[in-house]
């Protein structure tokens, strides 16, 4: 990984009323889970204080960057930090993978955004995380447990080497199921196979929460639909501002109903969400995204 040369980082020096001091948004910890997945722990005491499970932040890594939404995967109110787990899929996330090192600041982090999850002691609840959704489902797992619910955690990875945070999940889950595509760890199969197992064992499951790629969340919703289990999914449409003023993140629910994921969501009833529409709208900038990666890769490092 090369150094962050030619990059405009802005140190932010600001004062706000006491107790709400916005510090420089500094990266205090980084962990690489795989060649494409990395964790950044960021110092931002105000967001750490306000964050609730289910919320997200909008990050700009540098001044000429774009605004990307990232779900808050963990928050530590005491140390004033929040944790983001990022998958390097496009130009911005790849560039961040290269440049966001411990001690470097981010240009801007805004949040928390979105409606918090509705957490309560609902009895038995299943929390499903797949792919990049494993990390962001963790705050809900912890919150459900702390609310007194019986929590069944189900996570999916391609193989054993990609597994992370299993210790964190075990700490708060009453039952924990790992699914892997190749069977190298846990049960062989997809998260939906895990859900089927859980439902067979516990016919009294009341709620299910799924976070991951749209296709996975859709499969989860279809798995629970025949059982009538309330299913919540966390949607990840294209966003710009994250404050409800552009409608770029609009999602289609049920009978052509329009909601903005940034202010009405990002969590919605999985049985109402039009996933075909979501998946189509995520392809909106595929041409530009490809161009951005190509151009960025061409630049000599």
């Amino acid at each position: 990984m090369s150094s962050s040369k030619n990059r405009k980082f802005h140190q932010i020096n600001s004062s706000t009323p006491e107790g709400y001091h916005a510090c420089a948004i500094e990266i205090v910890r980084r962990e690489d889970f795989s060649d494409v997945t990395y964790l950044l722990e960021i110092r931002h005491p105000m967001i750490a204080k306000a964050a609730q499970p289910g919320q997200f932040v909008i990050v700009m890594s540098h001044e000429d960057g774009e605004r990307i939404p990232l779900t808050i995967a963990d928050f530590d109110r005491e140390n004033g930090t929040i944790t983001l787990v990022i998958q390097a899929v496009g130009k911005t996330t790849k560039e961040m993978q290269r440049d966001c090192l411990v001690g470097t600041p981010l240009y801007s982090v805004t949040g928390p955004m979105g409606e918090p999850s509705h957490i309560s002691n609902v009895g038995k609840v299943v929390c499903v995380g797949g792919g990049l959704g494993v990390a962001p489902v963790f705050p809900q797992v912890r919150a459900y447990k702390q609310a007194g619910a019986y929590v069944i955690g189900i996570v999916g990875f391609r193989n054993k080497d990609l597994v992370f945070w299993d210790d964190k999940f075990l700490q708060y889950c009453d039952e924990f199921i790992i699914c892997s595509d190749d069977g190298s760890v846990g049960i062989k199969g997809r998260v939906t196979d895990g859900i089927q197992r859980a439902i067979e064992k516990h016919p009294d499951i009341r709620e299910l929460l799924a976070i991951g790629p749209p296709i996975m969340m859709q499969a989860c919703a279809e798995t629970t639909r025949p059982y009538g289990i309330k299913t919540t999914v966390s949607l990840n449409p294209v966003m710009v501002d994250g404050t409800g003023m552009c409608g770029g993140c609009r999602v289609k629910l049920g009978d052509n109903k329009m909601k903005f994921a940034c202010v009405d969501g990002p969590e919605f009833d999985g049985h109402q969400v039009d996933f075909t529409d979501l998946i189509n709208r995520l392809k909106r900038f595929s041409k530009e995204e490809k161009l951005a990666v190509e151009k960025w890769t061409d630049i000599p490092k």
Partner: protein, 504 residues
């Protein structure tokens, strides 16, 4: 000198030099180049200096218009700026974006027989002089210990913050975006309002001692209740704008290629999508762009589309040019640049190309019927007049509704349409909390928002028991002491201590 009369003044308004349409669609530079000194002097002579000027009350912030024009005539340009900036902290901006034909210029006495005095262009000229020469009026401000929070750094918030800072309050503006300015920054394009002008005007606000905290989403990071009860703000002004785009609920709205004007403008103006991929934000505009609506936002979206490489830009509006809410000048400019206007056309459906993208639109012709509540003739569809055309991008510019964040995160009373309810003094149902601008009225103009911000500031001063102080300006500066989100703040170097309060 003999008294000026309608017969002795220059009969024609001084023309504004502009870039030719063919040149300007190829760049983002300002279309209207601005008056020269000679132009400003000639135009100033057209003001009759009415003893009871009609233009002043017609200005939402009550600028002493003959006063500043007289200063230009006297060649005291700095003095002209002092008069202007007393009422309006954003002269260079308002001179550019106000709909003067409906405000000051609309009631100008000269305008009864000739073209009215071009007040806006004169205001802009003075504002630009101040930026060029680095003039700024930093008053001696005696701190009064009150702390005021302003939510939103758009025109309403700026106006309120400036007045409260001049009154001696410790003012902090909270902005959700990474750059301040609100609609001035994300909404109004560079070719109507250059970024350098916004930066210069905001810099002046910072010199007044106003702190600007960007990346702060009030309601989520902390609530209005917390601002008053925990954070120690004595009063709060909410100027968050309307900002939530409206859609029509017709078939095809979810297709790729359909976006709101807010999104288009934000991507282009704030995120610099015109410079993609050097800037990371894409726009993804097609070659044939249909824009629904005919307000100023629609005009901005159309003219940006042309500059972003669209070959055909269509304006789809269900009424006629007569009812169009956009400024005449904007429609003229758009037409010169090549926008095709389709008046009396209403969208029925956005057509699908079978792959989830926009292929075109199906519309219906309208005719004007009886006037509705707003006094405008209601458009009614003409049966059997449906027509289709090809397009790859559809932009909604049919107005905005209230952003829900404030309502959901506070107990402030909202009206039926979700906007914040205030009384005549701009006070909300929450003691000490005031609101103004689009979040109260729905989409309006920059200057109306500023007027609301100033009115709220006046009420806030009364609520806090702050007496009016005479503002004493001084212009000495010291070295920058603090960098706040890239904005250099300068320490006030006070030389005089005189306020009306002390004199008493």
């Amino acid at each position: 000198m003999a008294k000026k009369t309608i017969r002795t003044i220059p009969q024609d308004r001084t023309p504004m030099p502009v870039q030719t349409p063919a040149t300007r669609v190829t760049n983002f530079d300002e279309v209207a180049i601005g008056y020269s000194l000679e132009d400003a002097l000639v135009e100033s002579e057209r003001c009759l200096m009415c003893p009871k000027p009609a233009c002043v009350p017609a200005c939402p912030v009550h600028i002493d218009i003959p006063g500043f024009i007289q200063k230009i005539i006297d060649k005291d340009y700095r003095g002209a700026y002092d008069v202007l900036s007393d009422a309006n902290p954003l002269a260079a901006i308002c001179g550019r974006v106000c709909p003067q034909e409906n405000q000051c210029e609309g009631v100008c006495t000269v305008g009864q027989s000739l073209e009215p005095v071009v007040i806006g262009r004169l205001e802009r000229w003075v504002g630009d002089q101040a930026i060029d020469k680095g003039w700024s009026n930093v008053p001696y401000i005696k701190p009064n210990g009150y702390r005021v929070g302003v939510v939103g750094s758009g025109p309403a918030g700026i106006a309120c913050a400036a007045d409260m800072a001049k009154a001696g309050c410790d003012v902090t503006i909270f902005e959700a975006f990474h750059k301040p300015g609100g609609v001035l920054r994300y909404g109004i394009p560079e070719f109507r309002l250059p970024d350098t002008v916004i930066a210069a005007e905001i810099d002046k606000l910072v010199k007044l001692g106003v702190k600007i905290e960007c990346n702060t989403l009030v309601g989520r990071l902390f609530t209005i209740d917390q601002m008053i009860n925990e954070l120690g703000f004595d009063a709060v002004f909410i100027g968050t704008g309307a900002g939530t785009p409206r859609f029509m609920n017709i078939q095809g709205e979810f297709l790729n290629g359909v976006l709101s004007a807010n999104e288009l403008l934000t991507r282009c103006n704030l995120m610099q999508a015109g410079d993609f991929p050097n800037h990371d934000t894409p726009l993804g505009l097609g070659k044939r762009v249909a824009i629904i609506g005919s307000g100023n936002t629609a005009m901005d979206a159309m003219r940006i589309s042309l500059r972003m490489g669209a070959e055909n830009v269509y304006c789809i509006y269900r009424r006629t040019i007569e009812e169009s809410p956009a400024r005449n000048e904007e429609i003229e400019h758009a037409e010169e640049e090549g926008v095709e206007f389709h008046w009396l056309s209403n969208p029925l459906e956005i057509l699908d190309d079978g792959k989830g993208n926009v292929a075109g639109m199906r519309c219906i012709r309208m005719e004007l019927g009886e006037p509705d509540e707003s006094g405008r003739r209601r458009p009614v569809p003409v049966e059997g007049s449906e027509f289709e055309f090809e397009a790859d991008t559809v932009v909604y510019a049919i107005g905005t509704s209230a952003n829900p964040i404030m309502g959901r995160t506070s107990n402030i009373k909202l009206n039926m349409r979700g906007f914040i309810e205030t009384d005549e003094s701009m006070a909300t149902s929450f003691a000490g909390v005031y609101a103004g601008g689009d979040i109260v009225t729905g989409g309006a103009t920059v200057i109306l928002a500023m007027g609301a911000g100033r009115q709220a500031a006046a009420s806030m001063k009364q609520y806090l028991g702050i007496r009016d102080t005479e503002v004493v300006y001084q212009n000495e500066r010291s070295a920058p002491v603090n960098t706040l989100f890239g904005i250099v703040r300068e320490e006030h170097n006070f030389t005089r201590v005189t306020t009306r309060q002390e004199a008493e």
